[in-house]
Symmetry: C2
Subunit: 348 residues, 2 copies
C-alpha cells in the first residue's frame, strides 16, 4: 500500500481537477490510500461522485487554501499549520503519508515543504527535478527552479540526488549523469560547473556513472539519464523546450489546415497525428519532484487537468514505492563517508 496525501485546493482549478485526477490514478494503482486536505464544501460533493475513491480516502477539512498568486512569505504567514497545502505536507512528516502531491503555487509549496520537512542533513538547498521526454525515453533534469546559482558542492549534491531518483524511476543500477555546460571552447563554462565536474570524476561513486559535460541539445537526445544544472538555467531550459514544442505544434496545425490536400492528408494520417499528439502531451510528463527534503513532495503543473494531475500522482506513487528518500539518504551517506571533508550546511 502507498499512502498519498493530496492538497485538494492546489492548482488553478482545485478539487475539480484534484479529485477526478485521484480517481484516475486509483484505477491504475488500486493499492493507493489517499489522505485529502481541503475545504469540505467544495470537496465532499465531488468526492461523493467517486465512490471508489471515497472508500480509499480519508478527508480532512481545512479552512485555508493558499492562492496561486500568493507570495511564499505571505502563504507561510497565512497558511502555516492550517492550510490544505501545509497539512498535506505535514502528513508526510508525521508518517500518515508516503508522499504528497500538490498543484499549488511552486514558491509557496517549496517554502512550506522546506519549513515543514526540513532539508536532509548534508543538503544545503533542495532542488526541483523534472522528468524530460527524450528521443531515447526519459531523463531527469535538475534543478529547474529551486536554487539559483548553485556552487560546485550543491551541483554535486544535485547529481547524487538525481542519480538516486533515476534509480528509483528508471530502475537502472548506475544511471549516467551529465553536467549541463556550454561547448564553445573559448569560454569553457562556469567555474562551478568545471569544479563540480572534477569532483564527480574523482568521487569514484558506485551509484552512478559520470558522463561529463552535456549541452542544451543533449536534453532532447537523452544523452544521459540525469542532467545537472542550477535552477536559473534549468528553469529557462525547461520553459524554452516547452515553448519550442508549442511553437512547432502550432506550425504543424497551421500547415495541416492550409490547403485541401493537406486536410485530406491529415484525415488519412489522423491516427499518426493522434500518436504524435499523445507523445507530445505535456500532461503525460507532469510532476516535478522536490529533492533534498525529509520526505517526497510532488509538484503538479497548476493549470493541468485531471489526466495531468493523475500523472503527477503516478510519479509520486513510483517515487514512494521505490523508496526515493531512502535511496537518496543512502547515496549521500555513502558519498560523505568517503569524502568526510565535503561540505554540508554546517561546513558551508
Amino acid at each position: 500500500m502507498i499512502r498519498i496525501s493530496l492538497d485538494a485546493m492546489g492548482g488553478d482549478f482545485g478539487p475539480e481537477v484534484v479529485i477526478p485526477g485521484a480517481a484516475k490514478a486509483l484505477e491504475r494503482h488500486p493499492d493507493i490510500q489517499f489522505v485529502l486536505f481541503g475545504q469540505q464544501e467544495r470537496c465532499l460533493p465531488l468526492l461523493a461522485q467517486y465512490p471508489k475513491l471515497k472508500e480509499k480516502s480519508v478527508f480532512h477539512h481545512c479552512d485555508v487554501a493558499v492562492a496561486m498568486d500568493e507570495k511564499p512569505s505571505q502563504a507561510l504567514r497565512r497558511g502555516r499549520y492550517v492550510s490544505s497545502m501545509w497539512r498535506s505536507i505535514e502528513a508526510v512528516k508525521t508518517g500518515q503519508a508516503d508522499v504528497v502531491v500538490s498543484a499549488g503555487n511552486t514558491g509557496a509549496l517549496m517554502a512550506m515543504a522546506k519549513f515543514c520537512l526540513r532539508t536532509m542533513a548534508t543538503i544545503e538547498r533542495p532542488a526541483i527535478a523534472a522528468i524530460w521526454p527524450t528521443l531515447s525515453g526519459e531523463s531527469i533534469v535538475l534543478d529547474v527552479g529551486a536554487t539559483i546559482g548553485a556552487d560546485a558542492q550543491q551541483l554535486l549534491d544535485f547529481a547524487l540526488m538525481g542519480g538516486a531518483m533515476a534509480r528509483a524511476l528508471f530502475e537502472v543500477e548506475r544511471p549516467l549523469v551529465g553536467l549541463l555546460n556550454v561547448g564553445v571552447e573559448e569560454i569553457k563554462g562556469q567555474e562551478e560547473v568545471k569544479e563540480a565536474g572534477r569532483m564527480l570524476r574523482e568521487a569514484g561513486l558506485d551509484t552512478m556513472d559520470y558522463y561529463g559535460f552535456v549541452e542544451g541539445d543533449d536534453l532532447g537526445k537523452g544523452t544521459v539519464d540525469v542532467v545537472v544544472t542550477e535552477g536559473f538555467t534549468g528553469n529557462i531550459a525547461l520553459k524554452t523546450a516547452e515553448g519550442t514544442a508549442r511553437q512547432i505544434a502550432e506550425y504543424l496545425r497551421a500547415a495541416m489546415s492550409r490547403t485541401l490536400l493537406a486536410k485530406i492528408g491529415y484525415l488519412f494520417a489522423k491516427g499518426a497525428f493522434d500518436k504524435l499528439r499523445e507523445k507530445m502531451d505535456p500532461r503525460k510528463v507532469n510532476g516535478g519532484v522536490f529533492l533534498g527534503l525529509n520526505g517526497i513532495v510532488i509538484k503538479s503543473h497548476g493549470g493541468t487537468d485531471a489526466e495531468g494531475f493523475a500523472a503527477a500522482i503516478d510519479v509520486g506513487y513510483d517515487m514512494a514505492r521505490n523508496g526515493l528518500t531512502q535511496k537518496i539518504e543512502n547515496d549521500l551517506k555513502k558519498y560523505h563517508a568517503r569524502h568526510p571533508s565535503s561540505a554540508g550546511p554546517e561546513a558551508a
Copy 2:
C-alpha cells in the same frame, strides 16, 4: 554596394560550401562585392566554376587556415596576421570590407575579432546575437555564448546593442526589449537581472521600449523583439530549442512512416510538410552576429551547407546596409551622455 569579406577556409567544409554560398547570396544581392581569403589551390578552381562570383570578387591567398578544433589561444598564435580568418576580419578593420562572414570555429573567431577589431569604447565584453524564429516572426536573442555571467551593466549594454540590431534587422523604430528571467515567485531571479531591469526602466531610452522580464517560453512566442541574457543561459536556451525542434521532427518522421494510412496521408499533405520543413529549416536562420566590436562579424554554423552559408551572408548584408555599427555607436553615445556615471571598461 556592400563589400563582404569571407573566410573561405572556415567551417567543416571550407571553400566547397563558402564559395557556392557566396554565389547564391550574390544572385539575391547583385550589389555585393566580395573579398575572399583562402588557400588558392582549393579556392581558385572552385571560383572558376562561378564566373559571376569571380567577377565580383577579389581573392587573397593565405597559407594558414584555422582548424575547427583549434583552441582560441593556439589559433591566435598560429593564425594571427596570416590566416584566412584573421585577414578576413582585418579587411573590415582596414575598411576594405563592410562586414566579415566566417563559418570557422566560434572561439577562435571571437578571439581574433576582439584582438583585431577591439571592443567599442564603452563596451566591456562583446555578445553573440542569434536570430530566433518565433510564432510572430523573428526575435533577437543575446548573448548566446560570448560572455558568461554578465553583470547588470553588461546586460544593459546587451539590451542597447540588441535594440540597435533589431532596428537594423526588423526596421522597427522602438523595438521591445525583455530580460530573460525565471518566473517562480519565491526565487525572483538573479540579482544582476533585477538590477539590469531597474536600470532599463529608469534609463528613459527613446531607442527602445523596455518590456520587463520574459521567461523561457516567451522565446518561441516572440513576446518581445529582443531577449537579453548572459551567455551561459543564452547558449543553453538556444541549443535546447534546436534540440527540441530536432526531437519533434524525429517524432513526426516516425509517426508518418508507422502505418500505411499515415504514409498515404503524408503523400497527400506533402506540400504542407515541405512548407513545415522549410519553416523549421535551421539553415534559414543561420548567422550569429558579434556585437560590441568596431566592425560587423557574422558567424555561420560550421556544419552548414551553401544555402545556410548564403543565409549568413544575407544577415551580414542587411547589417551592413542598415548601418548596424553606427546605430550601436549612436545608441551607446546617447545612453552614456544621459548617464555619465555608468560604467565603461575604464570604470569597471
